[in-house]
Amino acid sequence: MEQNNSLPPFPQGLASPPGAMTPGLPLFSPMMPYGTGLTPQPVQNTNSLSLLEEQQRQQQQQQQQATPQLYHSQVSTTTALPGNTPVYTTPLTPMTPITPATPASESSGIVPQLQNIVSTVNLGCKLDLKTIALRARNAEYNPKRFAAVIMRIREPRTTALIFSSGKMVCTGAKSEEQSRLAARKYARVVQKLGFPAKFLDFKIQNMVGSCDVKFPIRLEGLVLTHQQFSSYEPELFPGLIYRMIKPRIVLLIFVSGKVVLTGAKVRAEIYEAFENIYPILKGFRKTT
């Protein structure tokens, strides 16, 4: 059975590796559009995929220097996708697919909070939904509308969809452990109702996190420079949908500075995605 280790709280206020920053030099100064002189100049290459790999290699080299271990067991190389962007009012080079690498990173100091975890588990036996709906207080069942029992518990505050095949979906928990505990409680309820329920193949399917970068973001600029990852249709949805490739996370970025991250299977992916996007967003921070 899969265990999701609870990770230690995300370390805040990490000191940047020594020598990475020339003191006094503003990070995103328009005079130095590609970061400090320490970062390699970007390769002007129209092939976006090779540029990605180039970036990954650059990042890995920087990572091998004294970057502190940011995450618990599941460490993936922090591939900073499009790093800081030049602060131009008009998109001068919209055709260049990837902007240069991020300088060896300083932590943003902001930790995305998990808002929802969706998990599934197999109770391992066929269930009679009518009996469950009749004998449980916290269940609703409307076969004409949906073919599952909707059950809710108070602590942790979650909702479960229980299907007649014995499979169950648990939503609403705020952490992996809470999701697991909630799923176990539902299984126990079903057991007490007389079914030989087991607890097989518990798996976290999706994790949603959110945070606030505390400055407004120019979404129109972001969609121009990160065209192949972003989709911004103000007529349909007020936020920008950013599909990050590594890690495979979808971010909803709003003009107010709020960011929603979804599609993660583990907590580290959310943190990594946010650390990747934060320098990009800082590049689009514009004070009038």
Binding site: N4, S6, Q113, L134, R135, A136, R137, N138, I153, E155, P156, R157, K174, S175, E176, E177, Q178, S179, R180, L181, R184, K185, R188, V189, K192, L193, K214, F215, P216, I217, R218, L219, E220, V223, L224, Q227, S231, Y232, E233, P234, E235, L236, F237, P238, G239, F254, V255, S256, G257, T287, T288
Partner: protein
């Protein structure tokens, strides 16, 4: 069935359904022994060799009736939007591709019509022809959400690159849609289109700097900006005309603005507020009051000097914040001293004494009432211009206290029992259900 041929006497008589008439033919001499009726009954027809429709060439030669109707609809859309013939042919071929795709071949007719609109939109985007989704939606008679879902599916399924369109691209064609030429309306209302475009684009740039544009629907904003621009080009005469009247003068089609009337009103308010904030910085007004309903005559001056006014406004705002934080610090020191003096005084007096000091530390009086929903040290206080969604929080977010669990704790029986009905409850429930069913 005849058994022998009368001509040659052979018994080799076979039934032949080569022709539509059943015949018995002698194999040896070829003579027709007997034949059935030329007219058929149902029983006869079932014995004939039928060729089903899907096996015939009919279905290959003639395209589906709905596809033909779809083509004509799509061509009509292209003609309304005045697309070039190249674009029109691109749209038609894209529509055929989309129509015959397995995801779309079996959908409802309305969805197929929307699909046609999506093809038009996609080709326009690719050729940088500025067409808003709202325009396509208004032509098809659907709302943006429905159009959006079909559009998203369409681009995903056919792997089409979507390029975003900016509000400034749509501006020119939008302004030209208004019929405000000297021949079309009275002298006082007439405005050359280019002047209107220039004024509106300046207003929208200003709105973009003040964070009114990002994340919002472009069409209501365009309407608001065009209206304000039109008013400001001859304020003495045009101030008294409302937005609805303006749309009637300019003969804007009612369906295009009617639905988003409320949004247009909100954008007008926001635009006027921004203009007021900048208008206050005009040196020749000498700090005089600038009100939203009287700011229109000043728009000309404001737009001419908007960069300088923006910098001034931001600088003054920062100055004001600095002063406030200094006074807050001094009043805090005073409070500490007075607190120690007042430690044994009546508690009801302290709120009254504290309040004027508090008011000094808190927001300046001219900020909107919605600001007090935000916590006192919210980052938004530092900025003069902000996206409105930051300033007006609709509902206070309550973060539930985090539950520290390991996931493997013991689950108490009592808690689980609380989720299970007792036998009495079940019986009562069944009884009530039965009674309700009998009554219904």
């Amino acid at each position: 069935m005849p058994s022998s041929c009368p001509e040659c006497g052979s018994s080799n008589v076979v039934e032949d359904d080569l022709y539509s008439q059943r015949q018995w033919v002698c194999v040896d001499c070829g003579s027709v022994v007997s034949e059935g009726h030329l007219t058929t009954t149902v029983s006869d027809e079932t014995q004939g060799r039928a060729v089903p429709y899907h096996a015939s060439t009919e279905v290959l030669k003639k395209p589906c009736r709905n596809l033909i109707a779809g083509f004509s609809r799509v061509r009509a859309l292209c003609r309304i939007l005045r697309l070039s013939s190249d674009m029109e042919s691109a749209v038609v071929s894209l529509f055929e591709r989309a129509y015959n795709h397995p995801n779309f071949i079996f959908v409802t007719l309305t969805k197929k019509e929307i699909l046609g609109g999506c093809c038009v939109l996609s080709v326009c985007r690719q050729c940088n022809w500025p067409v808003a989704m709202g325009t396509i939606g208004y032509l098809l008679g659907v709302d943006n959400a429905t159009l959006g879902t079909v559009y998203r599916e369409f681009t995903k399924v056919l792997n089409i690159e979507i390029s975003t369109i900016g509000i400034m691209d749509m501006l020119e064609s939008f302004c030209y849609d208004f019929k405000l030429g000297p021949q079309q309306v009275e002298e006082v209302f007439a405005e050359p289109a280019q002047r209107l475009v220039d004024r509106t684009s300046a207003l929208i740039e200003l709105a973009a700097d003040a964070w009114i544009v990002t994340g919002r629907q472009p069409l209501p904003l365009l309407f608001a900006a065009v209206y304000l621009a039109w008013q400001s080009l001859n304020p003495t005469v045009r101030m008294k005309y409302t937005f609805v009247k303006f749309c009637k003068i300019g003969q804007a089609p009612k369906q295009s603005w009617h639905r988003s009337r409320d949004s247009v009103v909100k954008r007008l308010k926001e635009l006027r507020d921004v203009l007021c904030k900048l208008g206050r910085e005009l040196p020749w007004l000498r700090g005089g009051a600038v009100e939203p309903n009287t700011v229109v005559p000043l728009v000309d001056d404001i737009l001419k000097n908007r960069r300088a006014l923006l910098m001034r406004a931001v600088r003054n705002h920062e100055q004001q914040l600095q002063n406030e934080s200094q006074t807050a610090q001094t009043t805090e020191c005073d409070d500490e001293l007075s607190d120690s003096n007042r430690s044994d005084s009546h508690s009801s007096k302290t709120p009254e004494l504290m309040d004027p000091d508090q008011a000094g530390c808190e927001n300046p009086p001219d900020k909107e009432a919605t600001d007090c929903q935000l916590p006192p040290n919210h980052w938004s206080k530092r900025h003069l211009f902000l996206p409105p969604c930051v300033k007006s929080r609709k509902r206070r977010r309550v973060d539930a206290p985090q539950l520290e669990v390991t996931g493997d704790e013991e689950i108490s029986d009592g808690e689980i029992e609380s989720y299970i009905r007792s036998q009495d409850e079940i019986e009562t429930y069944l009884k009530v259900r039965k009674e309700l069913k009998n009554k219904a």
